[in-house]
């Protein structure tokens, strides 16, 4: 099971966090501090795994962004590495060649994507196409809703003027 997902920039700034096991706010900060210390200081040639408090953290660097996932002792690290990559590919497809800034300004979108890839700490969908289709369906609904909302609020705004 995946206990949490962290996206940290090379400067140690948090870009996205998702916790599948209960952690208090204090614990979360501590985890992030500890792990970013460990992971950011690792050399490029070393393995992508870190053993940490009886868990394992699998991380992978994409440009200036580190994707980290914390898993149990008996999980398959290589698989998690590919789950990270799977997630990145989906993000890439969704944002159209994703970069860190996309995630910075649209972190909530990234959360929606993540929610379609992982649920309750497990990989729920391994088909990129399916995920893309679901997200697109949500977005199209959201867009129409937004247009309506916009037009309504415009009308209200004009009416109140």
């Amino acid at each position: 099971m995946i206990h949490f997902v962290l996206l940290i920039s090379r400067q140690g700034k948090v870009r996205l966090t998702k916790w599948y096991s209960p952690y208090s706010q204090k614990e979360r900060s501590k985890v992030i501090r500890e792990l970013s210390g460990v992971i950011l200081s690792r050399g490029p040639k070393l393995s992508n795994f870190v053993e940490w408090r009886g868990y394992k953290v699998v991380y992978k660097r994409y440009a200036s962004l580190y994707f980290c996932m914390c898993i149990d002792q008996d999980d398959n690290e290589l698989e998690i590495l590919e789950i990270i990559h799977h997630f990145v590919e989906i993000l890439d497809r969704y944002f159209g060649s994703v970069c860190e800034l996309d995630l910075i300004f649209n972190f909530h979108k990234a959360y929606y994507v993540l929610d379609e890839v992982l649920i309750a700490g497990e990989l729920q969908e391994s088909s990129k196409k399916t995920v893309a289709r679901l997200i697109a369906a949500q977005d199209s609904l959201v867009e129409t809703a937004k247009e309506q909302a916009n037009s309504i609020s415009n009308m209200i705004a004009q009416a109140t003027k």
């Binding site: 979360r28 393995s47 870190v50 053993e51 060649s97 309750a120 088909s127 990129k128």
Partner: protein, 983 residues
């Protein structure tokens, strides 16, 4: 430049519109992005929180504004600040009718709230409503929230609806419903116990996504109870077969592998089902063999599946053919350049040696390399492997290594773990007392504050009881070596408290036992300890008690005890101590000093720490006293449980007043606190009674309470006065091994000597052999130190069994055996060199040994050199292979391709699909870039990755220039990679 890019990006974002964030929010994100320090960032966030607090409570906020505020709250919370003031607004947002807002609301609450939060009860109703919605997107959003938020108490509220959704027409909903049920099962297995058949049904779902999701709960269920799912073995095997044969839709392919994530899950399940079940395993053999063949070993995901196959093969009933394939893959992992694969290889090796310990031998040098690798992760994994393969012959090397590593790290969590492993190994395999004591000293010295207190108790007990045999001489030798080493070490500063406790106890018990050290010397040392640790009451208590014991033993043998002045002052100080425990001890010591030899001998017999202490729970010796009191009209004693019952009744009325209070009042007395550990180590009861009743730790507090209610409290001393180690596991002295301990250490040292001489020859041979093949390639030097290490780690592995066997059968002929051993040694050496020269080392006649024929020659380690030689020849093979590979691929960077193949492949495919193939680089290209940089030694390659989007002539010019600068021309082997990078 950076800033320009950022601005460009923002402009692009502005033109995209649609994202719908206000300028304010973009400014916030930007200012945080530009914050130079954590403090600055915190300041910005605090301002933001203030703003949000004010704004969010304003009346008449439009929904759109509110949505943005909620997203800003999420942002604040993500950065690690408390946004709890806004939780309620997020909850409110989930009630909204519009999906847009609802989705934001759900996203926010799933990120904000843990499953035990009070606000969840407010969401349950909404979730119930949404699960019934016609719109499947609403249902999906609600199910996502269910997975995160529903706790044990609220499961029944949504369970019927979730079960109903298992039959929903949309596969996305069915899948999420399955995952929700899985979550319920994890939270409270009993709540869904009647629904487990649903998982089996969903396994046959038409949609592969739903089937794949169903494997998650099934894995958990099978892990808990494999037997009730044996009937599914054939189905799982069939599914796996179909998946492996690419029968699933193409969209499940991942890097040219058919649905690898589903394969991995199935393999995990099969590993559980086939564990210890020959029949079930036989069904799997074909498909597993198939997967071994089909997997693409050059891609990361292929290796992930292969690794899972190895796990599966090592878990099920073994098949020689599959094990061979597994060993092959493992050795490929270990020989790989990638640290990730090495790591997996070490892990896989750890699994395989459980089935066949000899697997490790051909990889010994790879393992040593991993052990000395700068990568900490790899190192730890290797230690784990060594821990699994420790045996009497290599325990010294392994534990020494572990301790060295333990000293070098700061991570307390891991330090604790490795310390306890050292202790465990030392207890299990220690070759000699001396070594054992020294090892324990080191562990305590460097990790004393981290090890479990049980370890200390165990050590004391081992020293007190010895090996568990009736060899008094060995026991007392153990003790005196312990005492000696402790007296040497005691003066060192900064010893951990736990270690000092052990030292004090041992010195008190055995400090003067062998007569080497005078009582006053030991007492003086103990006083120093107490003085040096003025704030540590437990250590002081141990020290005083130790002094008391030493003095008592002196009195017993009729010597006069003159207390040293510092000792006297210590007693004075302690008798005025704030700690009643210390006071008590000080007064007891004074009393003991004033008694005569006979009295002292009865209350403190020497070397009696292992004697059972006589305790009678019902205190019969007080019967007369109690009777007398009763006759005089005293109240009879009421047992505790009845007492509390009465208390309840008498308090009933007062309780009635407090009925609504949920916490209720405690009417029983509070439990007595556990006395400090120190109080248990006094060796002997003050009162002697007739019957033997061992006190177990668990009954202790209750006992004490009861005793306290008996009139004469002062007589209940015995309860406290025992070294209670009943619960401590005993690992020392494996009966078949210990008797021959001296002989083992002896033979291992011989072996080491022998190993060295052989190793030297071995290298020479392998070097000369390599000469003709490629003289221009530098030899992969294997230092003799490493080889020595390899020899000492792996050397004895094959003789493990015989050793144990002979140690039982040949106890009497040990001396004789040694003689034979020595005489055979030289011939063995010669023989093995000859073999090496022929480059065809014969396997040593091991099989004979396994038959268990008790001939004295069997015990001999000279068998090992053969193995060592084999190992030596191994690496040179490797090196020649590696070097030839390099020469073949000189121009085409095969190594980089190997490592980054999946990356470049993806890069290629995706790039082809995307119209602006060029810009695919942004995130995904980070790695290929790095790889390139490493190869060409240029430092600028990474700068190529543009942060900006959209084709840009300037960029491509830049890249072109750079390419010329670095001198790279696209090679034919990786056109995609280079075309992506360099345009």
């Amino acid at each position: 430049m950076e800033q320009l890019k950022t601005i460009g990006r923002e402009l692009a974002m502005g033109s995209q519109g649609g994202w719908g964030q206000s300028k304010e929010f973009l400014d916030l994100v930007k200012s945080i992005g530009e914050a130079r320090s954590k403090a600055e960032e915190d300041r910005i966030v605090m301002n933001e929180i203030e703003t949000l607090k004010r704004r969010i409570t304003e009346p008449d906020i439009t929904k759109r504004k509110m949505k943005e505020y909620i997203i800003r709250l999420v942002y604040v919370e993500m950065l690690g600040h408390d946004a709890s003031f806004g939780y309620i607004h997020a909850v409110k947002m989930t009630h909204d009718d519009s999906l847009l807002l609802k989705r934001t609301g759900y996203l926010a609450v799933t990120l904000f709230l843990n499953e035990d939060h009070d606000l969840i009860i407010l969401i349950v109703n909404t979730i119930q409503k949404d699960l019934k919605s016609d719109n499947y997107l609403v249902v999906s959003a609600a199910l996502t929230a269910v997975c995160k938020l529903i706790n044990e108490e609220t499961i029944p509220a949504v369970l019927p609806q979730v079960v109903e959704l298992l039959g929903h027409p949309k596969e996305a909903v069915r899948k999420k419903a399955i995952m929700a049920l899985h979550r319920f099962y994890q939270r409270a297995p009993s709540s869904v116990a009647h629904l487990l058949s649903n998982f089996r049904k969903r396994l046959c779902d038409n949609d592969p996504g739903v089937m794949g999701a169903t494997l998650c709960p099934l894995f958990d269920l099978i892990a808990a109870d494999a037997d009730s799912y044996k009937d599914l073995v054939i189905s799982f095997v069939n599914i796996l077969k179909q998946v492996a044969e690419c029968r699933l839709p193409k969209s499940y392919d991942y890097h040219q592998m058919p649905a690898p994530f589903i394969q991995i899950r199935l393999l995990k399940i099969l590993a559980l089902l086939g564990n210890g079940d020959k029949q079930a395993s036989e069904h799997m053999f074909t498909v597993l063999g198939d997967i071994f063949k089909r997997c693409d070993p050059s891609s990361n995901i292929g290796n992930a599946v292969l690794y899972e196959c190895i796990c599966c093969v090592s878990s099920i009933h073994s098949s020689p053919k599959l094990l061979e394939s597994a060993a092959e893959v493992t050795s490929r992992f270990l020989k790989s350049d990638s640290h990730n694969l090495k790591y997996m290889g070490i892990d896989a090796l750890g699994r395989l040696i459980k089935i066949n310990p000899e697997t490790a031998e051909e990889h010994q040098l790879a393992v040593i390399d991993c052990l000395e690798d700068p990568d900490d992760t790899l190192k730890r994994k290797t230690f784990e492997l060594l821990y699994k393969m420790t045996k009497p012959s290599n325990v010294e090397v392994i534990v020494d290594r572990m301790i060295d590593y333990m000293i070098s790290i700061n991570d307390n969590h891991y330090k604790t773990e490795i310390a306890s492993r050292c202790v465990e190994l030392a207890e299990q395999f220690a070759p000699s007392n001396q070594w054992f004591i020294q090892t324990m000293n080191k562990v305590f010295e460097h990790a004393g504050d981290l090890v479990n207190v049980k370890v200390a108790h165990n050590l004391m007990r081992l020293i007190a009881e010895g090996f568990g045999e009736d060899d008094e001489a060995a026991d007392s030798q153990l003790r005196s070596s312990a005492v000696e080493s402790y007296l040497r070490i005691i003066g060192e500063p900064k010893l951990p408290s736990l270690f000092l406790q052990v030292i004090c106890w041992v010195l008190g018990e055995y400090g003067t036992a062998d007569g080497k050290f005078s009582a006053s010397y030991v007492t003086g040392k103990l006083c120093d300890v107490a003085e040096a640790h003025p704030s540590d009451d437990i250590v002081k208590a141990y020290a005083v008690t130790a002094i008391m014991k030493i003095s008592a033993f002196e009195i017993e043998v009729g010597r006069k005890v003159e207390l040293l002045p510092e000792c006297q002052s210590l007693i004075d100080e302690l008798s005025a101590s704030h700690s009643t425990d210390l006071q008590q001890r000080a007064y007891e010591l004074q009393t003991v000093l004033s008694l005569d030899a006979r009295a002292v001998a009865s209350i403190m017999p020497s070397d009696a720490s292992c004697e059972d202490i006589e305790v009678h729970k019902s205190l019969p010796f007080l019967d007369g006293y109690v009777q007398e009191a009763l006759v005089k009209g005293a109240q009879p004693y009421i047992p505790q449980n009845e007492q509390s019952g009465m208390a309840n009744i008498s308090n009933f009325r007062s309780q009635a007043h407090h009925v609504p209070s949920t916490h209720g009042l405690r009417f029983e007395a509070y439990e007595l606190p556990q006395p400090p550990v120190a109080s248990r180590i006094q060796p002997v009861p003050l009162t002697a009674s007739k019957e033997l009743v061992p006190v177990s730790e668990t009954t202790y507090p209750q006992e004490n309470v009861r005793a306290a209610s008996v009139p004469s409290v002062s007589e209940t001393g015995p309860f406290e006065l025992k070294l209670q180690l009943d619960g401590v596991q005993k690992k020392w002295g494996r009966p078949t091994y210990s008797p021959t301990a001296p002989s083992t250490s002896n033979s291992s040292s011989q072996k080491a000597v022998n190993g060295v001489s052989q190793l030297v020859q071995g290298t020479v041979v392998s070097q000369t052999r390599n000469m003709p093949y490629d003289s221009r390639k530098p030899q992969v030097e294997v230092s003799s130190e490493k080889q020595k290490l390899a020899a000492s780690l792996f050397g004895g592995s094959s003789s493990k069994r015989e050793k144990r066997l002979t140690s039982t059968s040949h106890r009497t002929s040990r001396v004789q055996t040694h003689a034979v051993e020595k005489s055979q040694m030289p011939t063995a050496t010669v023989a093995s060199t000859e073999h090496a020269a022929e480059k065809a080392p014969q396997p040593p006649p091991l099989d004979l040994l396994d038959l268990g024929e008790p001939t004295p020659g069997d015990t001999i380690p000279p068998l090992d050199p053969f193995k060592q030689l084999e190992g030596l020849l191994g690496p040179s093979d490797v090196s020649s292979v590696a070097s030839s590979a390099v020469s073949v691929s000189k121009s085409s960077d095969i190594i980089s391709q190997y490592a980054e193949n999946p990356m470049s492949a993806v890069g290629g495919t995706v790039a082809n699909m995307a119209p602006a193939s060029f810009d695919y680089i942004n995130l995904l290209s980070g790695l290929p870039n790095l790889a390139n940089r490493d190869i060409h030694g240029g430092s600028a390659a990474t700068h190529v990755a543009p942060v900006k989007k959209g084709p840009n002539p300037q960029d491509s010019l830049e890249r072109d220039a750079l390419a010329r600068q670095v001198g790279v021309t696209p090679s034919s082997t990786s056109p995609n990679l280079f075309s992506d990078l360099l345009g």
